[in-house]
Amino acid sequence: MFSFLTGLVLTLMIIVGTTVLFVTVFLPLCGAIFRFIGRIIRFFVQETIDLILIPVALFVCIIKVLRAGLCVVLARWDIANIEIRAAQKRFNEAWNRLVALLIDNPLRVLAIEPSGQAKQPQVNQRRSTPTPPSKKFEGYNIVGTLQSGGSGAKIYIANSNHNKSQVVIKCFDITDGSALPQIVRESRSMEAAKGLGLIIEHHLTDERFWYATPYHNGDHLGVVTASLHRSSSHLNNQCLRKVLLYQQTLLQTLREYHLAGLWHKDVKPDNIIVHDERAHLVDLGLVTPLASAMTLTTHGTEYFRDPELVRRAMRGVKVHQVDGSKFDVYSAGAVLYFMLENTFPPHGGLSGFSKNSPEGIRWIVRRAMSEYDKRYGSIEEMLADVETILHSKNVSLVRPADLPSMTNKSVTLDSVAHKKSIPNQTTPSTGGGPFQHVSNKTRPMGVLALLAAIIMGTAAVYSTTTPKDVENTTNTTTLSAQPTIFDITTPPGTILVLDDCAMASNPEQCRADVKTALTLLTAQGWDITVDPIAEARTRVWLPENPQNTIEVATKLEHEQFAGILIFQEDENYDVVATLLTSQTTIRMRVVVE
């Protein structure tokens, strides 16, 4: 009996011991052997590839150098430059492969990963391979990149070191080929969007401008719509509800824009990210104040941009002379059409429907994409119609006759759900780390306090004047009643020149007038500077309708300018100049003989 038990225990011990040995020694050993064999195979494959490609790269390099030489002989410097760069690239490739052949590949056999080739973090499908930016963004770790849009900016996904949230960083770098006008436009839009709390942080240096906005981890509406339509040829009630829900959240966002006096100007599926069952409107690149005095531009995306906008822009209409929110209404209608049809509206408001969809929803699309003066008067009207269908038991049974816009019934709109508010972390300055609030406080002391009181009083008087009053005043003031730029006293100090001729009806003529005016002013003893970098920096903080306020005075002092001279075209297509100093704002005619 005892010997039996002993035998049993011994047997069990042997089994356990063998199992432990198998798991802890044999399996890892096998794994290591197989991995080693794998590395050996990979080594030979990689060595063969490198051995073949090194001479190929060198050969191409030599060819490129010869071509470059030929181009130099033919005096085709531009092509020679391209060829030299291509040759350099090939040479680098050959060198890298040689290093890999002799060092990296053998090291990999020993399971040693060569330095500088650590694995990048995985990112979702919308992101491409992370490309580390040439310069870091202080306070953020880049984890991925997004496809750049038409602006030419580089777009990164980053983790904030401050609160670990993810953000999108849009960066315009002059050294990477970003154009200054684009930076100026973007910085204006960003300035406008700050009021909505959509900008987490922004920075402007001599070389680049970047800003951070919240990141929404989801697919854009084009992808989501395609997946909705993939299941069947037409949308069922469940899908239609989703469509209406996205449309509702989009309209709620647009409503906030319009209430804040802004206009998005580029509403399209690519700029709508679906996340948490909500449509998030992104890309603030074209956001414009509804009351802007700038000339309307045709920026936007074909098929989602109202043709009326193009027509009016070609006539040189100013933004404040139209209701920009109605152009957003058109785009929102085009987006709804896109979701119903899974394609863009090729024929504008006349685009037909080829897929089954409820008449009530079609009516909303047609109303939104109708002629400028016949469409919804506001985004709220459209939202009321959308919510009426969304809240019905069967979305397919709601008739156009039941919609509030047809019955003229007033409805209470849904409150906005899940709205994430961004803490007030916007920095109006040009420096500082993430969420570091840098205020430009004026010290309320002595003469400065007196000056501030006078300026604030003046600002208060200005602020009580409604835009309509301003417009009337502008209209009633004849140009001849205004002083000319050559009549005023020479300012004591450097004057920075800002030129808005790009927005003029005849930019070339405007620029010629400005050039002549500047020559004459210089002859009169004005200290004038035209500095694109300072201009871009100034446009970031300069208000749309600049007036001498405390902030302006402080900024001018900080920038060490006596004033800013802004050239632009007025409503009569005449070039006018506005001189903004810490004491005064003067609008003057520019009469160039």
Partner: protein
């Protein structure tokens, strides 16, 4: 040329932006399609877009010298300019490739000196005519009351019955008929206007009659619906190729 065409040509000559935009909006797709076809895959979408703009820009110079006595159709004239614009582009590219230093002929020289017989196919002519009809529908939409136009649209273009429309909009069937008649009358006027405006020859002016647009109301609605839908398909294909 009739008075409407003359006025339109004068607007183009006066660089009226709205007239140019109208021309671009109405006939841009047909020109783009034709250029793509001629290009036979050798020219990209962006180039086609540029060439279409070049065509209209060339038109702005040619319009000064347009001679109505030569009797060219509007569509042929437009196509002729498009063809020369494309030819000029191909010459330029070839000259660049050869790097021979030979400067290609300017577009003006080519248009004035050449008298190339164009093979304008029926499909292009149909597209041009459908574009004119759609331009007329757009003008009608812009002047008609929104609900009244939608009634006509649902009946004529969406092929809904009078009963379906009256139920959907909560109006009586006689009202539907009244709205239909009103919008149809407006549309007939606009079609006459647009066809006259974009016609240089009597043959072009008579196209509306040929297309059964002067028949009974139902025949008129059917013809408009067919033209609209064919243009819709064309626009979808043309735009789809560019996206």
């Amino acid at each position: 040329m009739n008075a409407l065409t003359t006025t339109f040509v004068r607007r183009l000559r006066d660089r009226d932006e709205a007239a140019w935009f109208e021309l671009w909006q109405d006939f841009g797709p047909a020109i783009r399609f034709q250029l793509s076809k001629w290009g036979g895959g050798r020219i990209g979408i962006e180039t086609v877009q540029d060439l279409t703009q070049d065509t209209l820009a060339a038109l702005s110079t040619c319009i000064e010298r347009y001679d109505p006595n030569r009797g060219a159709r509007f569509s042929t004239w437009l196509l002729s300019i498009a063809k020369h614009t494309l030819g000029d582009e191909m010459d330029r590219r070839n000259a660049q490739k050869r790097n021979s230093g030979v400067k290609p002929l300017s577009l003006d020289e080519r248009i004035d000196s050449s008298n190339v017989a164009l093979e304008v196919d029926d499909i292009f002519e149909q597209r041009m005519f459908a574009a004119k009809i759609c331009a007329a529908i757009r003008r009608t939409e812009s002047e008609a009351d929104f609900v009244q136009f939608q009634v006509w649209r649902m009946r004529a273009l969406d092929n809904k019955t009078g009963k379906e429309v009256s139920e959907a909009l909560g109006i009586s069937e006689p009202t539907v008929s009244r709205y239909m008649a009103k919008v149809r009358d407006q549309l007939k006027q606009r079609i006459a206007e647009v066809v006259m405006q974009y016609s240089f020859t009597p043959e072009e002016e008579a196209e509306a009659q040929k297309a059964s647009l002067s028949g009974s109301e139902s025949v008129f609605d059917d013809s408009i619906s067919n033209l609209y839908h064919s243009h819709q398909i064309f626009l979808g294909e043309e735009a789809g190729g560019r996206m």
